[in-house]
């Protein structure tokens, strides 16, 4: 027997858990230290927002909410790496990218507050809404990329999903077709170690999720998902390859879900305490702040000022959210079809007659 093919999976990290560089900084960030501060500020804003959003749910002012605690580096890094004319096909932990693509904090609250208008993104109109069914979104991304290829547009798509989503058929189908057609798609797996209560190791016997790229003949890269610099850089490079016609990439961003799956979950039932304690030592914001401080890019005064600004911004968004009047009840009918059929118009009239 002889070996006919061999494959490798690369791992990328710039910033280690101690907040020190394990790899020299990418040249872009060397030349643009203000970009690092921007990334940090977004992560902090996201965490402040997250805490308040959970409180809104707990006090009955919002519905079920999916937290991003501990995963801020993934979505913030993705959002920063994307160009305006790229398209984002998100799942439900991507607010860090949303904030950079014109989706307001108010709209995120509106979505989880049970109002479809939260998905009528005002910034990037081609971005998909949050995908709740697991893994279906990977195929939409491949379809959008097929349209780009058909129109010969140098654009790319980023699609995200959790570690559990890599067990779904749609995930494999999307990887396969993206590889076969060399589509401009970047698949990012937010491996936060948990699909509700099922751990990453119970999900698959694979050593890495990144290696699932191999069967589709595309690069599979594992990245420290607690390192925003690494996420940003790897996604940036993958997007560049995609736009240049050099095909798709699968990126696995390793981090840890420091929150419940959603506000409807209680992770203390299944997350081992010692694992969680360890994960808190590796979380993305602490290490990044430490790094910025050692580089004299950040200090306590700036931190205080940022915290105040974030609190104000989130409070303002919550106030705005609270004052949005509900849609008319007829809104449930008005977006089913461009032209509603007669039978639906009749039902609409009945609903209006019995409105509560």
């Amino acid at each position: 027997m002889s070996i006919i093919a061999e494959f490798t999976i690369q791992y990328e990290q710039y910033l280690n858990p101690e907040g020190k560089l394990s790899t020299p900084l990418p040249s872009f960030f060397k030349e643009h230290p203000e970009a690092l501060k921007k990334l940090y500020e977004l992560m902090v804003l996201l965490r402040v927002f997250d805490t308040k959003a959970i409180n809104l749910q707990r006090t009955g002012k919002m519905g079920t909410y999916a937290s991003t605690l501990g995963q801020e580096a993934v979505s913030v890094g993705i959002g920063y790496a994307m160009k305006d004319n790229d398209v984002l096909v998100p799942y439900y932990r991507d607010y860090g990218a949303f904030l950079q693509r014109g989706v307001t904090l108010t709209q995120i609250l509106q979505y989880w507050g049970g109002d479809e208008r939260g998905s009528d993104f005002q910034g990037h109109r081609e971005d998909f809404p949050i995908c709740v069914p697991i893994a279906t979104q990977f195929l939409h991304a491949a379809g959008i990329a097929t349209a780009f290829r058909y129109r010969k547009e140098p654009r790319a798509v980023v699609v995200t999903g959790g570690d559990g989503s890599t067990s779904q058929g749609d995930f494999y189908e999307a990887l396969n077709v993206a590889g076969e057609w060399q589509l401009p798609v970047v698949f990012v797996i937010n491996n936060n170690q948990w699909a509700i209560s099922v751990s990453r190791k119970e999900q698959t016997h694979c050593k890495t999720l990144a290696q699932k790229a191999i069967a589709a003949e595309m690069p599979g890269i594992q990245v420290d998902g607690n390192d925003v610099i690494a996420v940003c850089q790897v996604v940036h490079e993958a997007l560049h390859r995609a736009r240049e016609g050099n095909g798709p990439t699968l990126i696995e961003a390793i981090n840890y879900r420091l929150c419940d799956h959603t506000t409807a979950d209680d992770a203390s039932r299944y997350v081992p305490k010692e694992e969680l304690t360890l994960a808190w030592e590796q979380e993305p914001i602490k290490r990044f702040r430490h790094y910025l401080e050692t580089q004299s890019l950040w200090n306590e005064k700036e931190e205080q000022s940022l915290q105040t600004r974030c609190q104000e911004e989130v409070t303002k968004a919550i106030e705005e959210y609270a004052t949005i009047p509900p849609q008319p009840i007829t809104a449930m009918f008005d977006f089913m079809y461009e032209t509603p059929p007669k039978s639906l118009k009749l039902q609409r009239a009945i609903a209006e007659q019995f409105k509560e």
Binding site: S119, L139, A142, G143, I144, T146, Y150, A174, E338, S343
Partner: protein, 326 residues
């Protein structure tokens, strides 16, 4: 003008719209150089090239999911599912995404795709190749379901489906793909969706059907006319949304109704039509509504399939029952 079959009318409509509208793109399994297993895309690969007649990997959920992404980008994907029995992996994509993308985004993103699939039995095919599960799709808010039953209606309705701004499931009755030929002018004139077709006029009984069963229904009407029973025969064509007005107008005239469909009886579209007639024309009815349908069994393998499909004699029996009711 040459006469063409129903499947040739499908090809003609696809070619017409592809010439006119560069955003129309075909995708499916074996639809390229092979022209589809039923030859519905015969010659289109040669005429329009591989970028517009795309042979896809063999994965049905993938076909639907890709089409959704393409449609949201403003393309008009017309995707082929090789047989209706193989469309089920794509149902998640249809229900959770295609049918509700417009609604979820308050009209920001839309999904103008067409999903074509040959359906129905009677061609001595292997198992899983003879399904009639149109009711599954008709039940889904946000989808439209269209079934032609003649070459002319296949042409006009497919054009309408492609031009429609929302997702349309277009089911092609493969048993009659080549059963009849007629002249179909290639003039690009679409037929309206949400409209039923009165194929034959009479005042004694209303026969309602769609798809391949139209053939037996029309034969039954012919036999009835020799017995001095004159039937209105309606091809529903648009399963969702239903054109109930055409049906009610007929029922108010005849007072007697027989609904014929190949799909299983329970939860079939016939049940919906029957309920609507009862809601809106109860006092016009002179007899209970009869349904002649496939049985609530798995579609039998082909040795028994003729016993499953609604036959002329079963239709005549149902008409007799309704005519003799007081």
């Amino acid at each position: 003008m040459a006469e063409i079959t129903l499947v040739e009318a499908v090809t003609q409509a696809l070619a017409y719209e592809m010439k006119k509208d560069h955003s129309v793109v075909l995708m499916g399994e074996d639809i390229g150089i092979n022209g589809g297993v039923f030859r519905a895309t015969d010659g289109l690969y040669k005429e329009f090239g591989k970028d517009r007649v795309i042979d896809s990997p063999l994965a049905e959920s993938m076909i639907a999911g890709l089409a959704i992404g393409m449609a949201a980008q403003g393309l008009k994907p017309v995707v082929e599912f090789q047989f209706m029995g193989f469309i089920y992996p794509a149902i998640d994509q249809f229900i959770n995404h295609a049918a509700r993308l417009r609604n979820r985004t308050r009209g920001r993103l839309t999904c103008p795709l067409v999903a074509r699939a040959p359906f129905g039995g009677g061609i001595r095919a292997p198992e899983h190749h003879s399904e009639s599960t149109e009711a599954l799709f008709a039940h889904i808010p946000g989808l439209k379901v269209v079934i032609p039953s003649s070459p002319a209606r296949a042409y006009g309705l497919l054009l309408a489906a492609i031009r429609d701004p929302d997702p349309v499931v277009f089911l092609e009755p493969k048993r009659i793909y080549r059963l009849v030929k007629q002249e179909v002018p290639d003039n690009g004139v679409a037929l309206p969706l949400e409209k039923s077709f009165l194929l034959r006029e009479g005042s004694d009984v209303t026969l309602i059907s769609w798809g391949a069963s139209m053939h037996e229904t029309l034969q039954a009407a012919e036999v009835l006319s020799t017995q001095n029973i004159h039937a209105d025969v309606i091809d529903v064509a648009s399963i969702k949304p239903l054109d109930i007005d055409t049906i009610l107008t007929s029922v108010e005239k005849t007072g007697r109704v027989v609904i014929v469909h190949e799909a299983a009886k329970t939860g079939g579209v016939g049940a919906e039509i029957s309920a609507l007639i009862t809601e809106h024309a109860f006092l016009s009815l002179l007899a209970p509504i009869e349904r002649v349908t496939g049985y609530d069994t798995v579609m039998p393998y082909f040795k028994l399939e003729k016993n499953y499909l609604p036959s002329v004699s079963r239709i005549l029996h149902a008409v007799k029952k309704t005519m003799e009711f007081l």
